[in-house]
Subunit: 235 residues, 2 copies
């Protein structure tokens, strides 16, 4: 209907365009957390759209954590949560099968890549805590999902990279689901882990980063063979 200064029509809705305009506006003008935005009616008038459209766009930005609003004080720029969007779709029931398989592998890639940071940042306190976890698991004949999370979660923590840790944690439910699916399909070669948590701990304590990389590959071997048996997806 009205195009005004909103750019080409294409197939974007007004809300889509206003969302883009607002994001660019915030980025190009160097808005920082705490800075206050113009109020809704002002934005609507400036862009020549209804307040409805503006609010739908703002609702999206609010979901991403880009803005916050308090009554009377108006809206302010906020520190966006990097994973606010992705965590809402990170579920086996809604992701495509290809996505799930890719995320399964992504977790393996991440686990294989943390060696340098572990060795650069490990502390005696970390090692003690990890040893406690390992000892607790020593008697068990098979490790539960929680045991796995506890050990590997401690490793994520030891990387000193909280974003990495959160991302890994997000990945885990999908990883778990895909692996169960593989098991049901009988793809899994039912080998016990050639490298145990205790072995990994030992290398982390006394070995080198390069040795740890190799040990981690051994530990994840069953997962690698499982996913690599399945071939490359046809994306």
């Amino acid at each position: 209907m009205k195009a005004s200064a909103l750019g080409p029509m294409e197939s974007l809705s007004m809300t889509d365009r206003v969302e883009n305009i607002l994001r660019e506006y915030l980025m190009d003008n160097g808005f920082k957390p705490g800075d206050s935005l113009p109020n809704e009616t002002e934005i609507a008038q400036k862009l020549n759209v209804s307040r409805n459209v503006v609010r739908e766009a703002l609702s999206r930005l609010r979901m991403l954590g880009l803005i916050e609003s308090r009554t009377r004080r108006g809206m302010i720029m906020a520190q966006p949560d990097l994973f606010a969007g992705i965590e809402k779709v990170m579920s086996p029931s809604i992701l495509s099968h290809d996505n799930q398989k890719d995320l399964f592998e992504l977790r393996l890639i991440l686990e294989m890549g943390i060696a340098e940071f572990l060795f650069a940042r490990k502390t005696d306190k970390d090692l003690e805590e990890l040893e406690a976890i390992v000892n607790k698991q020593k008697g068990l004949k098979s490790l539960s999902r929680e045991d796995e999370i506890e050990f590997h979660g401690k490793l994520y923590e030891m990387t000193g990279n909280d974003t990495f840790r959160r991302f890994q944690t997000l990945l885990f439910p999908v990883f778990d689901h895909v692996f169960k699916e593989y098991l049901e399909k009988g793809i899994h070669t039912d080998l016990p882990n050639p490298v145990s948590h205790a072995d990994l701990f030992d290398v982390l304590k006394n070995g080198t980063a390069a040795q740890f990389r190799n040990a981690m590959y051994g530990h994840l071997m069953p997962y690698f063979t499982t996913t690599l048996q399945n071939g490359v997806q046809t994306s």
Copy 2:
């Protein structure tokens, strides 16, 4: 004002709650791409809120790619785009400094972790194409940002994991920005890469995955020393 069956008030807005309800509804009822949703007025009546609130919540789901709407046909479930949300905040100008530093390291972690998949999935055609890239860069005394992207981008592609590839590509602008910042602060130890692209290619062609992991560490060494000099962030 009205709480109805929407759960506790807390500090969530109506829109927040309706968004959660709708996502849970879609997930719990096993909605698959193509399945049609109830129309907006019906949802509004059922939840006892205005169509406005429903539309603000739906607007969010539409942004995530969870739903699509066509006039007359109503709304249908869609295949959500895993990165739709994250790519809108993946920018140096709006991410926190801690997030940026973490993402810088995350890229290093990912690069370090791809060896197994490269060796499991590399093809002769891939190697030829990678060799062409390497040869093109052989004469240059210093590699541009585009050169780096071309070589490493080809590696991402060779992993056969498109989700990984997209994620890496998203990360690159932040990585680049953080590294430039390090350079300005004089943190960088200005060593030439001890392991070149040509070296990496050679190991990928003739060596083993374990050798490649070590070579990649050598190649990324300047970045590792840079970020590790900077200490652990205090998140």
